[in-house]
Amino acid sequence: MGDGVPPTDDVTTPVVELIDIGKVYRNGELEVAALRSVSLRIDENEYVAIVGPSGSGKSTLMHILGCLDVPTSGTFRIIGHDAQSLDEGMLARIRNLLIGFVFQQFNLLAHMTALQNVALPLVYGGIDPEERRARALGALERVSLVDRAQHRPGELSGGQQQRVAVARALVTEPAVILADEPTGNLDSVAAAEVLALLEELNADGRTLVVITHERDVATRAHRVIEMRDGRVADSEDEGMGVVKSGGRR
């Protein structure tokens, strides 16, 4: 996976592990506890859906999982690395190498072509231009958008934009793909396409965490984590072919 953040071959190490995580937002005098004592473990190749009403803390949980935010208390480990002990630069490196993000708003850079957008994580990973191009094209091929490589996001449909975003998430071969309402802005056809793509990546061995409020999206996951009032309400086993952890379909 590259230097700096060595991957671990230890199969018993969970991909992410949260122990008694708390997150408090301070807004002047007001303290808002977004997460209270959340403990959670997601193993390799799991397909987890995080559900819950808005304000339940699922977005905060997602941000902590993605190393975009640090918890106020508790221990968070990603592939054995203790996130609290890392500085911004190291966290950036972990985001770059171990995590692939897919956002509801796509979050592609408007002034760059699809290819440049997909290649951007490799730029920050210090990959040389030739390899960057080859790998970005490979990722675009994965999402069947090679013919749109030179288009800017504004020239693509919502579904296509989200597929470019998926290509960007997978181009670094990350261990985890975090998808925050990936289908929230898409029509049902495009949503199905994107979801199928994400599940394909999971089938290839990547851990997939999807945050959603859509029940039918959640039911396709191997495990559903329901958030309520900043706590994990329940780990329900739903849908067909449920495997508890380290699962295969």
Binding site: L68, D69, N96, N107, H111, P121, Y124
Partner: protein, 402 residues
């Protein structure tokens, strides 16, 4: 780079701030150098290796001291004494000069023109390094005979004769007819009207026929030319000693004359030039500062406008240092572009300004390169704060915006 391009109007307005500052710097230096070059030329036009003896403060027999120029203490006898090979071996040529403002009339056309009437000896040509472009200069014979002849400056000719040939024609001064025998060569770089607008007559003619008066033997100044630039200082000492002696003055501090060298005149004018340059440079520095604040302002706007972009970049793995570098590069590109365009505009100004006035502008390559470096420097210095603000943004806050 993309950001600079995608916000063309904003970027160019930002650049404008730096551009104006850099242009000011380039032109300030150019005008400063142009002015000193002009002064240098003007002083060289006086003639090379030249000493100018002027009447100075005097002490009357009653012990009353007067200021400079209150009494004309220099005489033709002083000038004659300075020609001595024995007491002043390093003096090559001496020309006493008397001047007055005079209205000359062309009796044929009735054209009149007020110019500087200069009475001097044929040696004036040597001390002042001037040639006649037409006809001849005054001769020793003219001087002996107090001949009614005049040599005119080219500008004076234009004013009195227009395009007709003046040689052999006459001008009158106070009813005295003077025959034009020559026209002085025009001095190319002379902005000083005095160099090209004058009328030269023999000193004897000046004293006996034209101005006369009680002080007909006194002169306004004496030009002394040293044999070479190496002997200039010894010529200075010889002149000083000789004049003190002929004026019977024992203490040099009581001297009733003063001797100026080209260097001393140059130094005086350089002081004026430097004051001007410092003032202009101050203005340039202020405009650069304003330009820099403009860069900072725009970069801060850019940071808050692109807060989401920064968040995305951070989410996909851009370290704070990378974000900081990105904004610094953008700021320095603005600075570099402003600097380059400023130098271009400065060059344009250097070409245009001399067309509208007599001001000379000399462009300096080191100053131009320095200006570009300053432009980039301003971009970096004033980009540091916005860049580190961008770098410090928490990715989550950045993503959450909008």
């Amino acid at each position: 780079m993309d950001a600079v391009r995608s916000h063309r109007l904003r970027s160019s307005l930002t650049m404008l701030g730096i551009l104006v500052g850099i242009t000011a710097v380039v032109l300030t230096v150019g005008i400063g150098q142009g002015s000193s070059a002009t002064v240098r030329d003007q002083i060289n036009e006086l003639g090379t290796n030249l000493l100018v003896v002027s009447p100075g403060s005097s002490t009357s027999s009653a012990g009353v001291r007067g200021g400079f120029g209150t009494v004309s203490t220099l005489t033709q006898a002083d000038a004659a004494a300075l020609t001595s090979r024995v007491t002043a071996p390093d003096v090559a040529a001496v020309s006493p000069v008397s001047t007055t403002s005079a209205e000359l009339v062309n009796p044929t056309t009735g054209a009149n023109w007020t110019t500087t009437l200069t009475g001097t000896t044929p040696n004036w040509q040597t001390t002042r390094s001037r040639d006649a472009q037409q006809g001849r200069f005054i001769t020793a014979k003219d001087e002996r005979n107090a001949a009614p002849v005049v040599v005119l400056g080219p500008e004076t000719v234009t004013q009195l004769f227009g395009s007709t040939d003046p040689i052999g024609n006459y001008v009158t001064y106070n009813g005295v007819k003077l025959q034009v025998v020559g026209v002085l060569q025009s001095l190319s770089s002379a902005e000083q009207a005095a160099s090209n607008d004058l009328a030269v007559v023999p000193l004897s003619t000046y004293g006996q026929r034209l101005v006369g008066g009680t002080s007909r033997n006194s002169v306004s100044s004496i030009y002394v030319k040293a044999t070479s630039s190496d002997t200039l200082s010894t010529a200075y000492q010889e002149t000083n000693a000789l004049l003190l002696n002929t004026h019977h003055i024992t203490s040099a501090s009581n001297a009733d004359f003063s001797i100026a060298t080209q260097q001393s005149i140059l130094a005086a004018s350089n002081t004026v030039d430097n004051t001007l340059t410092v003032m202009l440079a101050g203005i340039a520095v202020i405009s650069l500062l304003v330009g820099g604040i403009g860069v900072m302002n725009i970069m801060l706007v850019s940071v808050s406008e692109r807060i989401r972009e920064i968040g995305v970049r951070k989410a996909i793995g851009a370290a704070p240092s990378v974000i900081r570098r990105q904004f610094l590069v953008e700021a320095s590109i603005l600075g570099l572009a402003g600097g380059l365009l400023g130098v271009v505009l400065g060059i344009l100004g250097a070409i245009l300004i001399p067309q509208f006035g007599s001001q000379r502008v000399i462009l300096s390559v080191p100053a131009s390169i320095g200006a570009i470096v300053i432009g980039v420097g301003i971009g970096v210095v004033f980009g540091v704060y916005p860049a580190s603000r961008a770098a410090r943004l928490a990715p989550i806050d950045a993503l959450r915006s909008e």
